[in-house]
Amino acid sequence: MDDFLIRALLAGIGVALVAGPYGCLVLWRRMAYVGETLAHTALFGVALGLFFEFDLILGMIVAVAVAALLLGLAQRDKRLGSDAILGILASLTLAAGVIIVSATTARLDLFAYLFGDILSVSVRDLVALYAAAAVALAALILMWRPMLAATLHDELARIDGVRVDLVNLLLMLLLALVIAVAGRMVGILLVVALLVIPAAAARRFARTPETMAVLAALIGAASVVAGLWGSFRWDAPTGPSMVVAAGALCLLVWLVPRRRAA
């Protein structure tokens, strides 16, 4: 197998392993739209970097981190954190980003940013990816119980002494990290799909939150492998192929009849 394929495989699996648990949290907290907004802001950050001529990755990270902080604070207010605001922000940042990109004279492969460029991942990219994934997973494991408590019921957790606001903010920042990193692989328009679809598939058979997180990671990894294979077999764009594979797996899982269990 060619080097670039091995790297692509490793990158995809790395993303799937961290997107699994975080995808579960996105589902449990109904944050898919927040994730979408963060992803679009990533492109906006890249566009700004292009326009003002500073490092694109830096631009992306700063933009996503700032958006995460602002959204995290806004979510506390029902009016500010609403669907409408997210819808507006998600569309505006994407549209503004695309306009800025087309306004600059520098060439940017917009398709690669929108739909991923996993086949061009370098060893350096891989190292950065696994480092970020390790940080994101370690942080999640450390915060797991207070995170679950705060997710399940905000107020009971507060009364039990959980620092709910801190946990929520940290999650927002970590999610921004995961999205920035995963967006490189499947593109910012599809990254939320890779978070949500494997988690939704895992829900079918999971009885505990941990089982769901692990299963989501495994299903995500399977989707990546299947998607890579499919994109080669049928000469299709890789990022979208992985998402379609995830979708197919999810459909399959939900069609399997379940034994009447407790």
């Binding site: 679950l148 997710t151 107020e155 009971l156 039990d160 829900r203 999971a206 769901m212």
Partner: protein, 264 residues
């Protein structure tokens, strides 16, 4: 925790939502070993007052005092958990900060829901989930137990059982208990202080044993011992719009005890 120590208190608390006053100058305190019954009609602000006391919502004015490090067990009136997270009843208890497996099993058994341990928490019936919440409150080894209408939808005999259980808990642990009920006349027999709330504190006092009221005795039979009858003594009335007027028919200086219906 010393007996009689103030565990949580609010003074002069007021709150208005969108211009509508919800609470006006309310004082409330719960001491260790004291059982306080907070009663009032629907919409009187009881749940809001409890949330302010617990630090879940800020008042517009007034002070809140809670003993530092206070362990609170809270059983809210309504609680729903999303189906998105797969979680069993026992695991739900494990999310509480205290208690190992043995304590969880014991709490489930004490509430009579041990056989539901592996059931999905979202699949429990209303009553079963209520008991799960009680189990979780127990696990906190609470110094202050706060229950918002725990007898909602429970029949009289079930209510008596619940009240006996709460009284035993209070006696055993010496914790403070704040019980919210929308029943205006019947409270727990073990209640030390009744606070009648309708946006402001209308009256406070102690209940009388049901045995002193033969009609109730006839109605409740063996369950009667768990209840107390509270006679209100208001010096004002509320009109339909919620405005307060002096009640000129009664002279409160003579300490008459009257039954008033709260006009809504």
């Amino acid at each position: 925790m010393a007996p009689g120590e103030v565990l949580a208190a609010v003074r002069g608390v007021s709150l208005a939502l969108g211009g509508t006053p919800i609470l006006e100058g309310v004082d409330l305190a719960v001491r260790a070993g004291e059982l306080v019954s907070l009663i009032g009609p629907n919409g009187s602000g009881k749940t809001t007052l409890v949330r302010i006391l617990l630090g879940l919502a800020p008042p517009d004015s007034g002070t809140i005092q809670r003993r530092p490090g206070l362990r609170i067990g809270y059983v809210p009136q309504r609680l729903s958990i999303d189906r998105a997270m797969p979680i069993t009843a026992e695991r739900f208890l494990a999310l509480a900060p205290r208690g190992g497996r043995a304590e969880r099993r014991a709490a489930l058994a004490e509430l009579g829901i041990a056989d539901l341990a592996q059931r999905a928490a979202q699949d429990l019936s209303g009553g079963e989930f209520q008991r799960l919440l009680l189990a979780r409150a127990l696990l906190a080894e609470p110094e202050l137990l706060v229950m918002d209408e725990p007898a909602q939808g429970v029949d009289v005999v079930g209510q008596a059982d619940l009240y006996r259980w709460i009284a035993t808990l209070r006696d055993r642990r010496g914790c403070g208990v704040l019980l919210v009920s929308h029943d205006l006349h019947l409270v727990m027999a073990a209640t030390d202080t009744v606070v009648c709330l309708n946006r402001h504190v209308c009256c406070t006092g102690q209940p009388e044993a049901v045995a002193r009221h033969p009609e109730y005795l006839a109605l409740f039979g063996t369950a009667a011992a768990a209840f107390g009858v509270y006679a209100h003594h208001h010096d004002h009335v509320h009109d339909l719009a919620g405005h307060v007027h002096a009640d000129n028919e009664h002279d409160h200086h003579h300490g008459h005890v009257h039954e008033h219906d709260h006009a809504r």
